[in-house]
Symmetry: C2
Subunit: 397 residues, 2 copies
């Protein structure tokens, strides 16, 4: 993997990551294809939308259909027939989402991502992931099967998947974890990172993950630890504090320590306001299920031209009866397949009727919208108009 920075503006960077399966421009938003599929979008859609890179989930693919099977069938690129770059996470996030995330009942994870996926199972609220010094034990809520993820195992699975960019196994802590626990988890994450460096498939590009919760000394310690080791890039993961400002502080602590010449991936973040503020602080890569999840629930992205702002989170809710007879597209400034072809009135009808086509079109628009925004952000860094663009979108600089 190569990372070439072609433009900088203050702490912001425009670059290009190149792998054997293709390249992508940074700052980039990476849509999530958990099980090797992006809602109703096929590979032709991804191509048309300009998706150069996707992120798939190691833990989920290990369970279903199995990384061994994917390897036999020629790897994940071939299995899902995606001609672009594939990133896989390490499974460490699920240590949180299926572990303390559930036990602490921490908002979006416990309620949304996980429960939606297992609504047919007999989940009753207990933790389904257990962390020890050796690794993470998962109890699959559907089959009851226990799966153990060690650093070595995570590297093996990701090698079987054949993704281009892989992540070291980490323990993703909860915002409710105290400093003592977070420090202990960080030690583990660091030991695991060294094990991953030892065992990873050298044909892949390994990213280390900076952890440490909302604690400045832990974050700085982690950033130093990772920066001193030969990773292809760096993730910033785990609990990003309790507020937007906490998140920005964490980035401010961490990025100056990380090597300039390596890409920095802020894991799991993707709201419009965050994209601006984090790119501004030197973040190169983002991934998030948000565009697809909001789409599913009826929230469609709109630009400032349609009244999008930080308060409405740049979204309309298509169920709103105001759209019942609205012949306009979702966003007049958007040149996606959906906005070029369909009215809000039609989309509202599909949403209210629970038509399958709604989910496809809504996901298409929302993902396209964010990709297009990232393109504008890249251009604004190149011509030093980032703050004008930020002002236009967020209303502040």
């Amino acid at each position: 993997m190569k990372f070439k920075i072609v433009h900088t503006f203050e702490r912001m960077r425009v670059g290009e990551v190149t792998t054997i399966h293709g390249s992508f421009k940074t700052p980039v938003f990476i849509p999530v294809a958990t099980l090797g599929a992006m809602r109703g979008l096929d590979n032709r859609d991804l191509k048309d939308m300009g998706v150069e890179v996707i992120l798939a989930n190691t833990y989920h693919l290990h369970i279903r259909p199995g990384d061994q099977l994917i390897k036999e069938l020629g790897g994940l690129h071939k299995f899902m027939n995606f001609k672009g770059v594939i990133v896989t996470d390490s499974g460490g996030f699920q240590a949180f989402s299926l572990g303390y995330g559930l036990e602490h009942g921490v908002g979006k994870i416990a309620n949304n991502i996980f429960l939606e996926g297992i609504k047919n199972c007999s989940y009753k609220g207990e933790k389904l992931a257990f962390v020890s010094d050796n690794g993470i034990k998962f109890k699959d809520p559907k089959s009851g099967i226990v799966v153990e993820l060690t650093p070595k195992k995570s590297m093996e699975i990701q090698s079987n998947l054949g993704s281009d960019i892989i992540f070291a196994l980490d323990e993703c802590t909860s915002p409710l974890s105290d400093k003592e626990y977070t420090a202990k988890a960080l030690e583990r994450t660091h030991r695991w990172a060294e094990e991953c460096l030892q065992y990873y498939d050298k044909k892949q590009a390994l990213f280390g993950i900076v952890q440490g919760g909302e604690y400045r000394d832990l974050r700085e310690k982690s950033a130093k630890f990772m920066a001193e080791r030969d990773f292809a890039g760096y993730g910033i993961g785990g609990s990003l504090g309790k507020s937007k400002q906490d998140m920005l502080n964490i980035i401010d602590w961490v990025t100056p320590i990380l090597p300039e010449e390596k890409p920095r991936h802020l894991l799991g973040i993707g709201a419009v306001e965050d994209l601006f503020n984090c790119v501004e602080r030197g973040i190169d890569m983002f991934d998030c299920v948000a565009p697809a999840r909001w789409a599913r629930r009826g929230h469609l992205y709109i630009s400032p031209a349609e009244g999008g702002n930080p308060k409405n989170k740049f979204r309309i809710h298509i169920r709103n009866s105001a759209f019942r007879r609205d012949p306009k597209p979702i966003d007049r400034d958007c040149d996606c397949l959906v906005c070029q072809n369909y009215s809000r009135a039609y989309l509202r009808h599909l949403f209210v009727s629970n038509e399958l086509l709604y989910f496809r079109l809504a996901t298409y628009h929302n993902v396209y919208f964010i990709l297009n925004l990232m393109k504008k952000i890249r251009e604004s860094i190149k011509d030093c108009s980032f703050y004008e663009l930020k002002k236009e979108w967020l209303g502040y600089v």
Copy 2:
């Protein structure tokens, strides 16, 4: 609307129907877009698949989003942005599916089409459609609202929708209706047909529907009645008896009576074996939800090259563990987007994982497969090789 027959071979015909919104070749299979959407397929997909004509449902669109709203927004073509021919049914079929179909618990209608659509409602098994001489009263299971469909009203709704080909309101009887009831219903259907002729929007092409259940004299009477009136074409609807042979007998009784120069639409039929046997008897148009419904449930069409035959109904079930590591496309003879891009192993993974993309791809393949079969059938009529094709597919002539 114009219908031009360009080739004939025995009782079979190849022709073209032309309307102001485009034309389609016959014999044709018309996919069903009940609420103005075809599962996960958008208008670009329909174009790529070569869909020249679709059928939407008058009753369902009247309820949701309302034909008045669709009219305000420029009609159904504009609302769903479909650049092709739109056929709408009359609502008469729902007199059966929501009426005696439910009361008699008649298989596929009561169990599948209807209940799937209202799984969130409080339906308890009673009839939801009531036929009188004036028309059909429907009780919407979701809202409890009572909707009355008279011949005049059905014409008004279809005029508001702005479809190209419309159907006269009929009473579709149950296979469990006795002869006395069927005869009474037939009288009503005939009276209603005359009312529809009086009230229909003359910019649209009105088809009359031949009813009469499984009773030869009633069917012949109905065919004569309809043939004597100035319809643009003719539907053959209602109960087509209790066996495949009953259905073929009904077609044999009816088609010789109907005018040669008008298209004949066999309503609601679409199985592979039926398409061959009914085209052979002079049917020009078919519509059926089957390809999409089977797709949804995991049944994917295969040609004789993949072992498709009347016994397996030309379908595999993708959940079969034999496909777990099968790198082949669904059908090697199929040149659809799905077969050109994805393996059975991937589709099985999507199906088992209940991924949205499965439904899109499966529907795409199944609909394309049937459209492609119809193309082959048309070509076989043109070059008089129909019986060779039929032998190859059905194993008999």
